[in-house]
Amino acid sequence: MSCSMAGEEDFVLEEKRFKQYCEEFIKRSQQIGDGWEWRTSKDLGDGYLSKTHYQVRNRKIPPDLKEKNHDNCEQMLCTHVEESLDDSQAAGVCATEVIHYEYHVLYSSSYRVPVLYFRACFLDGRPLTLDEIWKSVHACYQACLLEGPWDTITQQEHPILGQPFFVLHPCRTNEFISSVLSSSRKHDRHINYITLWLSTVGPVVGLNLPMSYAKLAPEQDTNDDSVESRGEHGLRIA
């Protein structure tokens, strides 16, 4: 990742601004039915973005040991709950696993960035290990996103719930966010920090943002009531 150019201010995300971006993000999520909501903690009034979803996995069990291609034995197909299970289950026995995923976005006041917490478990409550979660990330993401602006995924205590979660480290978040945001401001385009950040880091851990988060300029969207610069026909990520 390139360093900030001289004269480019480093964008600092204040907590209030984080909450505003989250509010905007949730509005958009509600419009497209993406399932994000805001959770407020009762004691201190801070909060976080939250999304849960279920994933159905078909694990193929070979009918007999004479399987020529050994790769098929451990094949795992990920499908969304809405999609129908495909024909691959016709050959051999299929074990269906349902996995419950939880994603939380919290604000780190120490680093002034959002942080992604996540965990997954089977329906019987058994949690997935980091390895098992990693295997469910689409193969192409595994390769190219390993180049991304983050360090590692570790297990940590959730700062509000006090339970073990996996966390994507915020180390170089500000680098890549700053450069995109400052260029967008130069062109008077509004970009939602959360949408930008989540669409970049989410896929690493199996969290995808539908393309609907990106929408056309306000002239084409009569439902939009946020302040926009007129005459800009560029793509606006709300």
Binding site: S41, D43, L44, S109, S110, Y111, R126, P127, T154, Q155, Q156, E157, P159, I160, L161, G162, Q163, P164
Partner: protein, 266 residues
């Protein structure tokens, strides 16, 4: 800092006499004797209990042994909290030695982080140091250090070497003469009674008028229920007193590069 060396040493060398007993449902080939150990307040359970593990594994069958975990009166103990904090939080009102139960089965996945190796403890410790420096110095001091300095901090802790640790830590405890303190004070306030594990907020060491903030100012600001008995109401009626382990506010005394200070509990 140097006049506080006595306090620094007292904090570093603080110990808690502990009695480890194997959980009664664990299957053993012989009777398991309890194991006694003086635990360093500033260290971590999984870092200092190799001997405890060896002792109990001697009377167990190999297949019965998986990841070790500790529990006090039914509460799983979070190994990633400093030992002194765990004691202050759960057992400071009880008689010594501190009685901890040892488990090798049924790891409580919903409560405890896994600790498969010393590397995990090191990574956690260093993450705390780094976050504290992000608050104190915008990460400038920790980032300017070489990897070997980071290693020295960890080795000092692991091997109980006060001088080795403080040779590096003192740099993390300094600030430029023109400043009157750190940018923000790294602190965490733990309460056994809340779901939220700790309170952590941005807090400056200097008030707007230029006076140094005190611990009382900090508590009033971030945890007022701790000092106004009227506000905490029913809690005073319970048998267990509201217990807060306050971390260090002033710059002096302690290993406040990490979040916890053992300046004592309130």
């Amino acid at each position: 800092m140097t006049d506080d060396k006595d306090v620094l040493r007292d904090v570093w060398f603080g110990r808690i006499p502990t009695c480890f007993t194997l959980y009664q449902d664990e299957v053993t080939e012989r009777e398991a004797e309890p194991y006694y150990l003086l635990l360093p307040r500033i260290s971590y359970l999984t870092l200092v209990t190799d001997k405890v593990k060896k002792h109990f594994q001697k009377v167990m069958r190999q297949e019965e042994v998986s990841e070790i975990w500790f529990e006090y009166e039914g509460t799983p103990l979070k190994w990633h909290y400093p030992i002194g904090l765990l004691f202050d939080l759960h057992a400071s009102n009880t008689a010594l030695p501190w009685s901890i139960t040892v488990h090798f089965k049924n790891f409580p996945e919903k409560d405890l982080l896994h600790c498969h190796s010393k590397d995990v403890i090191e990574a956690h410790f260093m993450a705390c140091i780094k976050e504290a420096d992000a608050l104190k110095h915008k990460s400038q001091v920790i980032n300017e250090m070489q990897k070997k300095d980071h290693k020295q901090l960890w080795m000092g802790l692991q091997n109980d070497k006060f001088e080795q640790f403080w040779a590096i830590n003192r740099k993390l405890m300094e600030y430029p003469p023109e400043d009157s303190g750190f940018r923000y004070i790294p602190f965490r306030i733990y309460q056994a009674t809340t779901e939220r594990p700790f309170i952590q907020k941005l807090f400056r060491p200097i008030a707007s008028g230029g006076e140094l903030h005190t611990l009382g100012d900090l508590l009033k600001d971030v945890c007022p229920s701790a000092i106004t008995p009227e506000a905490s109401g029913a809690r005073l009626q319970t048998t267990e007193p509201q217990h807060i382990c306050a971390a260090e506010v002033s710059v002096k005394a302690t290993r406040s590069t990490n979040f916890l200070s053992d300046a004592g509990s309130l």
